[in-house]
């Protein structure tokens, strides 16, 4: 996949100005590449039109896997593979299996979900992110517009839309 290289960036100071700006920019027909923020801005995913994350489903499925593995393991070991009478209890003393089953459910749900999150978001120690503006992890919100995706619009018009929406700076950024 060829990555696009020329971007227009709108720099915003305030999260509320940013939320309205995203609505305005999208409303005037400009396609937004992505918004980069130093902290989670509530409601940003709605105005950008992102679909809800499916990570809860992943967590649930991994959790179910954990429960089934734990129960299968305990019944197999205690009842079928090497049955022993312990404290006069039934071989398959089901109530005793609940704590381990619960812990395994939590363990697999948490690790499975975080694993999916890291993979889908491309987070890994050797990842080389494209940083549009170093201040986007400090105090500025950066709205990035990919010029290749907006070839029907004129550059000056995009710049004007950004300035009108409350951007404190409008910059160009190109990657090699």
């Amino acid at each position: 996949m060829e990555r696009d290289t020329h971007f227009i960036l709108g720099v915003y100071d305030d999260e509320d100005v940013l939320l309205h700006a995203v609505e305005k920019v999208r409303g005037s027909g400009v396609k937004i590449h992505e918004v980069y923020s130093p902290y989670p801005v509530h409601g940003l995913e709605h105005v950008l039109g992102y679909k809800r994350s499916k990570l809860p489903i992943a967590a649930f499925l991994f959790g179910m896997l954990g429960t089934s593995l734990a129960l299968t393991m305990q019944f197999y070991m205690m009842k079928f593979d090497w049955p022993m009478i312990i404290g006069g209890k039934d071989y398959a003393a089901f109530p005793d299996f609940i704590p381990v089953s619960f812990e395994m459910t939590v363990l697999l749900a948490a690790f499975g979900m975080v694993g999916v999150f890291l993979i889908t978001s491309n987070l890994k120690p050797w990842a080389q992110p494209r940083i549009f503006d170093l201040r986007s992890t400090d105090d500025k919100h950066i709205l990035a517009i990919d010029l290749a995706n907006n070839s029907s619009l004129e550059l000056e018009k995009i710049k004007k839309i950004l300035t009108d929406s409350g951007a404190t700076e409008v910059n160009k950024k190109s990657f090699d």
Binding site: D16, S37, L44, P99, V106, L134
Partner: protein
Amino acid sequence: MQVTSSVRQPLVTGGKTYHDVTHDVSRQVEGKPTKLWFMAFLTAVGVLALGSTALLATLWEGIGMWGLNKTVGWAWDITNFVWWVGIGHAGTLISAVLLLFRQKWRTSINRAAEAMTIFAVICAAMFPVIHMGRPWLGAYWALPLPNTYGSLWVNFNSPLLWDVFAISTYFSVSLVFWYIGLIPDFATIRDRATGLRKIIYGALSFGWDGAAKTWMRYESVSLILAGLATPLVLSVHTIVSFDFATSVIPGWHTTIFPPYFVAGAIFSGFAMVLTLMIITRKVFKLEDYITLGHIELMNIVIIITGSIVGIAYITEFFIAWYSGVEAEQYAFINRATGPYWWAYWSMMTCNVISPQLFWFKKIRTSIVATFILSLVVNIGMWFERFVIIVTSLHRDYLPSSWAMFYPTWADVGVYLFTFGLFFTLFFLFAKFFPVINMAEVKSVLKSSSEKAHK
């Protein structure tokens, strides 16, 4: 859109801007270590080295180095284990339970409290591992690996095995939760740095770029991890209490143990968070982030959980009498008036009486008083576990085997070792990691700071 409450105190004082937050927290990571930090760190390493002689002696000679005898087969080791696990619980409570309850004040303290959780659980896990005597074979006794040392598989009916699963799950899930929260802050440090630091923090930050889509997923992950960690933290101390409650020893065999242990864990954990935070805010000049308001709220949690613990002590006593079981009645009378009366009354004073002082606003908003009382609570909670464990064992069923427990230098040394380990790890964390969750503080700054408004 923005709402400022005229009733509520701001969470962050001093009119901080977003950039101030970044600067105040990253400054600690970027600057040269101060003399004070070096002194504290070297003291911790010294204690670690001193304690490791006891640890090595125990590993070399076996647990005969400890003061255990035939009657009192569990003493300081399990006391220290339960004490450290309990301390760990506050971190998860702050980061997970308070997140679910939307308590925004947690944002300034959750990072350090979670770090404390992880280090405390490492210290706790040391004790059962050393107590195995031959820890290098420990995997066969603790994990379901088929072996011929005893039964083929581990015994899933045993609460000690449940503990293995509970503690290891708790440790790994807490570690993941903590690390996910650290990623955006590592990215902040990366973007301010050059050279080697940029490479190291770049790798630690996993290539985080703060994209809105990633933040959306991040929020979703945090919420679900909090939802998973909440029942997890309750289950961990419940299962720890099962180590005692599922036995048939008078004094241990009580159904009240799970909730009573969980309350005690939160109680001692918040005390330890206060001890650490009062020092951290002072040393790193973070008084605007960890305010008197935070300290007061934590003290209120201490009054509540301390009172629950007090009621549990009295209920235990009442039920021992009401049950009509003589052995049970004797176990409790012996606790209060037997040879370990001093331990029992230390526990009662430190845990039941001293936190009630926080009803006075003057005391709960005084930093000196809070610091002293937080130490008192931690001492009291250590005595609680000692009282439950040793006084229930030392009067055996046969008077001929009645005994006392006397700790040896190795008992003291191994306990010291875990202190050294805990503080060494905590000081390393405080220097090289952002001690305050910058991203989360920024997200609550707007509703709480005057300057960020403009």
